[in-house]
Symmetry: C2
Subunit: 191 residues, 2 copies
């Protein structure tokens, strides 16, 4: 069985979205896309290797807001190319896309969603790829094995914080890897 | 002339004090002292070298709250062993301590305090050693040359945030060094 691992880019001041992010333009605002430059314009061979770690992921969990914000820009085929489970309150038929991505909407909580994702992932990892709220829910529930944080030397001043309203009681982190590239510092923590 | 450089330990979730920090017990609470373990129990040779960088500092700037919180635990002689300028609203006579530290209280703003600190530091650096609010004031005013952040793999869940209510317009950071030790990840940013 694979691990349950979260993966996100965070500014030095703790934000994972730009202050002006909104549905359909998740990366726009004062600093369009600068949280994610390391994956694109500023990408190095090391960054590529880090992105390729995603090949070890067999299913993805997303929060509803993240899905709403991302759905349009991800397009069709979406970049996932694997089953994606969206944790939501609103029941909805599964939405098959091109290229191997199917969005499945799970309404009975994070544990049920994780069970489905584990079954779909087989031996591979389950990736929790956003948003912050969903990551915190899995972290609090003790269901997260590993957090990957790409720390970007950038101050955003506003937006969605990765860590907010979190009671850290009982949560211990151990830094297991740290890789430095020009655009980011890639941390991996065992929870 | 030396640089103006800030230096602080921050948890992964962005806090520089424990949720229960208070005057006289700045490090107590749920995780007493864990933000600063890297300087003490978990210290390695590399951490020692980083701490010794303080030898390049000729004068220190502190915020009033930081001074109030730290005054008792720092004791006499305080650890600074150099002139310390406290930015405050309340006028007060200078307070000479043992071992080379004199606390001087500056009531006419951060620029005036910096001028005094520069004069006292000579060729050495001026260190802004807390709290978060004072660092942000110097950062906003464009008076900070370098930020050192010791990032600690720890979630505190509350306390004072280093980055809060900060308009980052016009502030660019460049990561100039990154050193990994067991207890911390030591970042240095050019502003």
């Amino acid at each position: 069985m694979g691990k349950v691992t979260s993966e996100i880019s965070m500014s030095l001041d703790g934000f994972i979205t730009d202050p002006n992010a909104s549905a359909g333009s998740p990366l726009e605002g004062n600093d369009p896309g600068r949280l994610h430059d390391w994956r694109f314009d500023a990408k190095t061979e090391t960054d590529t290797a880090i992105v390729e770690i995603y090949a070890s992921t067999g299913a993805v969990l997303l929060g509803k807001r993240m899905f709403d914000v991302g759905f349009e820009p991800w397009g069709d085929p979406p970049p996932f190319r694997m089953p994606v489970f969206v944790v939501t309150h609103g029941a909805r038929e599964p939405l098959p896309m091109q290229g191997g991505t199917t969005y499945t909407f799970v309404t009975d909580g994070i544990e049920a969603a994780l069970e489905l994702a584990r079954a779909a992932a087989g031996d591979k990892n389950v990736g929790i790829w956003g948003g912050a709220n969903l990551m915190r829910q899995y972290l609090k529930a003790g269901l997260l094995d590993e957090m990957q944080i790409h720390l970007i030397p950038l101050l955003l001043g506003g937006g969605v914080r990765l860590f907010e309203d979190l009671d850290p009681e009982g949560i211990e982190l151990r830094r297991t890897s740290l890789i430095e590239t020009p655009g980011a510092t890639h941390f991996r923590f065992e929870v």
